[in-house]
């Protein structure tokens, strides 16, 4: 069971918001992870590629840095088979590109800009996620 962490989560959210708005201030772009990474998968030319690569490198190295001070932040407390993870990854990859965004681009930046598209996206992926978790946890018993 997960413990309620309002202070840490709020602080983390504020840091995420600051990084996102700083990205708009300096680079003039929406900080949307699926858009940035998807733009890499599309194999762009150097000018569009390098900053995207460096952003992803920052994420990966930031993860390692946080891991070194707080390893529990990366605990896998749910049981997921490789097949379930592959299905989940394919759905997240295809879905975020088809729907032009994920939790960061639509969730943080889009809602803050009062975008109707982002509001529809967030309500839809929250509902789909909740229904999926309901089925997995309460119909299938919690493991996949």
């Amino acid at each position: 069971m997960e413990t309620f962490t309002p202070i840490a989560s709020l602080t983390g959210g504020i840091i995420i918001g600051l990084a996102s708005v700083a990205f708009m201030l300096f680079n003039g772009r929406i900080l949307g992870i699926s858009g940035i990474v998807g733009g890499l998968v599309d194999l762009p030319e150097a000018q569009e590629r390098n900053w995207r690569l460096l952003f992803v490198l920052g994420l990966v190295l930031g993860g390692i840095a946080f891991w070194s001070v707080q390893p529990s932040a990366f605990e896998m407390t749910v049981q997921r088979s490789p097949v379930a993870l592959i299905a989940a990854g394919l759905l997240v990859g295809f879905g975020t590109r088809l729907g032009s965004g994920c939790t960061s681009g639509h969730g943080i930046c889009g809602l803050s800009r009062f975008s109707k598209r982002s509001l529809v996206s967030v309500l839809t992926f929250m509902a789909a996620g909740a229904i999926t978790v309901f089925i997995v946890n309460h119909v299938l018993g919690g493991s996949l």
Binding site: M1, E2, T5, A8, S9, T11, G12, G13, I14, I15, I16, G17, A19, V21, A22, L25, F26, G28, I30, L31, I33, G38, V41, W51, F55, L57, G58, L59, V60, G62, G63, W67, Q70, F74, E75, T77, R80, G89, L91, G93, F94, G95, T96, L98, G99, C102, S104, H106, S112, K116, V120, F125, A128, A130, I131, T132, V133, F134, V136, N137
Partner: protein
């Protein structure tokens, strides 16, 4: 050289790297890199953990307060213009894409940012997820490209 063409001494690549770094720390602190916590947030009919509502709340409040001041500027600090989304239509792609994403998010407990942040700390689970996510993005590119080709054939 007009004012809007002026180049900044701040490199956008450096900004991107630092933004990724800080974003990852925020995700880790927020609890977003624990798939079990994400799933507990989506589990409204079980042991619901509302923590992640505070992540989105904190991020949205900060962004809302600062965004409009930022885009009042003539141009961003390290680039020549702001690139903001312009579409406003609610179409099947937006809704279907979000629904597919939501199902995958609920299945694995990972969305794109936390998955990449967990790439090394999250072990094989995170690596399998990230490889599949990149594949899914590639499949979208392929599907979208084939669709465009068909349209061109029809139009021609």
């Amino acid at each position: 050289m007009s004012k809007s063409d002026k180049k900044s001494f701040v490199r956008p690549e450096v900004v991107a790297f630092l933004a990724g770094l800080v974003f990852a720390l925020g995700l880790g602190l927020a609890g977003m890199t624990r798939p079990g916590k994400v799933i507990a947030f989506l589990d409204f009919f079980g042991d619901w953990d509302p923590s992640l509502a505070f992540v989105m709340g904190g991020g949205v409040v900060v962004y809302t307060l600062l965004f409009r001041r930022v885009v009042k500027r003539e141009q961003p600090v390290a680039d020549v213009r702001f690139r903001l989304p312009t579409r406003s239509e609610i179409d099947w792609k937006l809704v279907t894409g979000a629904a597919l994403f939501g199902v995958g998010w609920g299945l694995g407990g990972f969305c794109p940012g936390p998955a990449l942040t967990s790439l090394i700390p999250g072990g094989t689970d995170a690596m399998i997820f990230v490889a599949s996510m990149l594949t899914g993005m590639g499949l979208f590119r392929l599907w979208d490209w084939r669709k465009q080709q068909k349209q061109e054939v029809c139009a021609g």
